[in-house]
Symmetry: C2
Subunit: 268 residues, 2 copies
């Protein structure tokens, strides 16, 4: 991780450091309370299918903002930012294969590129901690274990695939509070999709996640599963689009508004 | 209004009566508790702009279902239905001008037609009544007064226009309860956008709505305003699309699921 040695105080400061190449590390655990987002960039001819896929699967894919074709500028509420430079690290895919993990995508941006910013579960971790619900991660990972389930998402056009979930181990007596709090954040995957036995989602071994570190489980904990923003990354490769670009796991876009205030506006 | 003389007991029975031409009246006030929906049909080349407009304005335009291009069949949860025949009355627009108000759109359906079903405020009127919040309508109208505001929606592609709201007069002591209840139904426009002074929305005279009957106001009532599904009907005509089709006001699509159960599924 490259940093200036100080932790940025605001999302705008973080984005400036990132754009200058002075912050290339994860955003997880940073700037608690601000709206963080997953990034997916697709060619314009795939944008309708992708937007419809998100519409049909709002728990894994809550849409926060969509850019104009070719224009890398995202504008939402107080936030104006450049998708090509303002995330710490990306993944670039050509025809369904990953080809690069750059810290800047200016060289990969195309005239027909449409960017989608999707809510992520970092959104509700601040409120969980504030309510006394522990969010336990393996040392130094700052990311939850992530599992591919046997639950299908609703397909849309060329896109289909399984629901992906993140898991958190929560003391049994705090599980209702965790549901209550996360259900207030539909833009951050909302309420859990499942509580308890991993087998109900087709997860054979909780100790062996598909992505991320294994869970940290203490006596009396119950596993709680939320829809995860990795879901669209499993639906996209099969399309073998000329290109897609996503954020690198844990290296998110950070908006200027907090998860509780949301962007201004009476229409949504 | 044409009916069989009996009120249908289920949404499926209603849709059968409607498709047979034996029910052509409004659905407002019918089958309390079932999910009702506004209909918008657009040509495929306008579908991305329309879906993005809905995504950017979820309070007036909560998307429940989108059909495949050319296929009039809507499938969601337990519901399978034909958009051409299963609503009691429609409005057909050619190049932005209304050309017909038929009870069946089979003759107007096109090979590139995409249907959108959007949540409507009938969704939350059952729960309001059940909680003791009166929903007062002018005699025989079964529809609220509707106003065009001076609040702009977020544009998307060729679509832009003002936010349209419906108003209900609520006894002051029940206004918090009305907010609490309707906020549970984001697929039915959710929490109000404004409480009190109509001038804050640019409404000059509450007694003269832009659509629908005047409000029924009793002493101690406060006007409460919700985002309204008429909003997209004001954004569409300026596009002058070859065709668009909407439901006729009050003559909605009715799903088989209730507003509280929602369609089945872990992904949204």
């Amino acid at each position: 991780m490259t940093t200036t040695g100080t932790v940025p105080a605001t999302p705008a400061e973080l984005r400036r450091l990132v754009a200058a190449g002075r912050w290339t590390g994860p955003t997880a655990g940073l700037l608690d309370g601000y709206q963080q987002a997953n990034l997916v960039v697709v060619p314009q001819d795939l944008a309708y299918d992708f937007l419809l896929y998100c519409t049909r699967n709002p728990k894994p894919c809550p849409v926060l903002a969509v850019t104009e074709p070719g224009d890398p500028t995202v504008r939402l509420g107080a936030t104006t930012a450049d998708l090509r430079t303002d995330l710490p690290r990306y993944r670039v895919w050509h025809h369904g294969e990953q080809v690069a993990e750059p810290t800047d995508i200016t060289a990969y941006w195309r005239e027909d590129a449409v960017g989608f910013l999707l809510g992520c579960s970092h959104t509700f971790e601040g409120p969980l901690r504030a309510a006394g619900v522990p969010v336990r991660y393996a040392e130094e990972s700052a990311a939850p274990p992530v599992y591919v389930t046997n639950v299908p998402t609703r397909p849309a056009g060329r896109l289909s695939g399984p629901l992906v979930v993140s898991a958190r181990s929560i003391p049994a007596r705090l599980v209702p509070r965790a549901v209550e709090i996360t259900s207030r954040y539909p833009a951050g995957h909302g309420a859990p999709v499942h509580i308890g036995d991993p087998a109900a989602l087709g997860i054979a071994d909780l100790g062996r996640p598909d992505f991320g570190p294994p869970p940290v489980v203490e006596p009396g904990d119950v596993p709680v599963f939320w829809a995860c923003g990795v879901t669209p990354q499993l639906a996209l490769p099969a399309v073998r689009a000329a290109y897609t670009i996503t954020h690198h796991p844990g290296h998110m876009f950070v908006f200027d508004h907090t998860v509780d205030e949301g962007p201004a506006g009476l229409t949504g």
